[in-house]
Symmetry: C2
Subunit: 375 residues, 2 copies
């Protein structure tokens, strides 16, 4: 059957991502393509690596967007750093911690979980306990648990993990660009994020960074990783090794348009300034908490653990989840459903990238008030 | 350092892909994003699956673009269909056959290669010989070997492979949309392609199709595949099983903009009509062969084996490869270098998607003549 030209509706994207890209980012997605070995594109790659380092807070050479979504970036981390028989300790306070467990297991590792109730985070002592029990090859934590809105503190943990001789891996899918990740200061050995949340590009890329200790583990592997597409050593034959020959060996055809959009999103992020951007995300969150309070609504996540960019709201007694989300969508606003055990009892409201503004919050709170009044 | 707004140069992309997307495809890449669970997006997903089936020539329900480049699609095929200890027979007539070997090995399989010299293809008898020797789990061939310009005939092979109880896998990265792949007619159990060649979308998606025999192998696995990101059973919880519940469980955030562009590229492909599109690719190829002949240039690939969309041209004695490609690029035209053993002795000229026209061929031949005259 014949189809019409694609004409998507306009949405204010206040779910867990994607957020709405800035106009220049969207324009870059449609810019004229060049080949993946074009001198112009090699320059875009180098600029992207440099700006991504700044956003991650790292001097790591091995800092690139993987050619897949954030999940692919995290799979790349686990599959390159772990070998069959290795051991990983993973913090699980929601779905995305559980996903790290699954990825580590697929890479052949045995996994010890550290768990905490929904909304809570992992205390550093609990990591120490596991390190003392038996040092693993790798410790992984989720910086911003998108299923519960919880912010995992990282400050003391990097040193403990390093002292135990393990690698420290952080899932910063939801935090990067909206709050400090500070890879080098926090002694993080590898971190993975996404393009479509606080950085404000469309989904499709998985930015990752690998420090020298992580790369030493990659180079010292006993076996090839069980992935060819995400094999770091092959990928850096294309992206270029630091100081090494940059003959840009073909590995796969880079997603040129996505890289254009991502390069623009990084440029706009740094043009705004990281501190200003973090403050903007924080201010939008505070405005939301106040606005919700005025409506008599509360947040699920304990105040001490709250993320600015992902807000989990308790659905009031007697209010129907689906009806409210449907009516908001009719008014052009997407919010996220509760995830897993919170499905039906909570909403997830993302204030990410261009949407982390008081104007957006005011519009949302106003529309939510109107919808609640009529349901 | 502060960066300028991204302003890529305009290139006529006559390398091995990406090709130049049609204006409506580029526009779709920049269209307003919706969430990956938005009712509008679920409709785009269903339309994409339906149109992709038509292009592949299949009724297979399990037909989707994977969220990575063509390489990811092929990795998904090998990692879902093969288990450690399985055996695969792979035809190798160039780099991309060798890549299938590597992917099968990473999936844990033992591989028997069937090789032929560069420019040649695998005769069906040679596949039969291997099947008779010992039936493998899987036979994989490259339909269009992008490194040599060779077209692998497939017609008799599917039946042989099926009779031997093996799965027939085809890499149609370069052929899909430019010549018939005919998955069902040829008894192909799984095939993988890309978005950026004859289909004319930007790179970033790996369209794949899996038939009932392939899905039976997936469902009968002894172990989980060594990939979570590309795990078919998880992916179809999001894309929806045929006739089954379509609760669209979250697996990863779909690359919405890429799906928009790909949906438009499929729409334009079917609007043109597959037969008309194949004829256009064929006519452009013939025009190129004539034009090159008039310049005294010849093709590397024997006439009987030539692909229409990827032309490997012998570099004439005394002509410097790099100089010519650089001068063409200065005139706004990208062509590809020779690959592997053909580096420096051949060029690769892609006539794919919007670029498979006599007008484009005439422009290219004219510019090449001008460049050759002055070098």
């Amino acid at each position: 059957m014949a189809r019409n030209v694609l004409t998507p509706p306009t949405r204010l994207l206040l779910g867990p991502g994607p957020s709405n890209p800035a106009p220049l980012v969207s324009a870059a997605m449609a810019a004229p393509l060049v080949g993946h070995l074009d001198p112009y594109f090699l320059q875009v790659m180098d600029e992207t690596m440099a700006d991504l380092r700044t956003v991650f807070g790292t001097a790591n050479h091995h800092t690139i967007p993987m050619s897949g979504t954030g999940t692919a970036g995290l799979e790349a981390i686990m599959f390159n750093l772990l070998e069959p028989g290795d051991e990983a300790v993973v913090g699980v306070v929601g779905y995305f911690g559980q996903r790290l467990v699954e990825l580590a297991q697929r890479a052949g590792a045995r996994v010890r979980r550290i768990e905490a109730p929904l909304g809570e985070v992992i205390a550093p002592e609990r990591v120490k306990e596991q390190l003392d029990r038996r040092p693993p090859n790798l410790v992984a934590l989720v910086h911003a648990e998108t299923s519960t809105g919880a912010h995992q503190p990282l400050d003391e943990i990097g040193k403990m993990v390093r002292d135990a001789g393990a690698l420290f891996v952080v899932d910063c899918v939801t935090s990067l660009g909206g709050m400090p990740v500070d890879v080098d200061r926090r002694l993080i050995d590898a971190a993975g994020s996404c393009s479509q949340k606080c950085l404000g590009a469309p989904p499709g890329l998985g930015p990752v960074t690998f420090g020298p200790r992580a790369m030493a583990a990659v180079q010292g592997r006993r076996s090839k990783p069980a992935t060819w597409y995400l094999d770091l050593q092959l990928l850096f034959q294309y992206w270029g090794e630091s100081g090494g020959p940059r003959d840009r060996a073909f590995h796969h055809t880079a997603p040129v348009a996505n890289l254009y959009g991502f390069r623009e999103a990084l440029r706009l992020t740094l043009e705004e300034g990281l501190d200003a951007r973090y403050a903007r995300h924080r201010a939008a969150h505070e405005r939301l908490v106040d606005g919700l309070g005025a409506l008599g609504l509360s947040l699920f996540t304990p105040e001490a653990n709250r993320l600015p960019m992902l807000n989990v709201i308790n659905i009031p007694e007697g209010v129907d989840d689906l009806t409210v989300r449907k009516r908001l969508l009719e008014r052009g606003i997407e919010i996220g459903a509760g995830f897993g055990p919170l499905k039906g009892t909570a909403w997830r409201v993302g204030l990410m990238g261009t949407n982390a503004t008081t104007e957006v919050v005011d519009r949302f709170v106003g529309e939510l008030a109107a919808v609640l009044k009529t349901t």
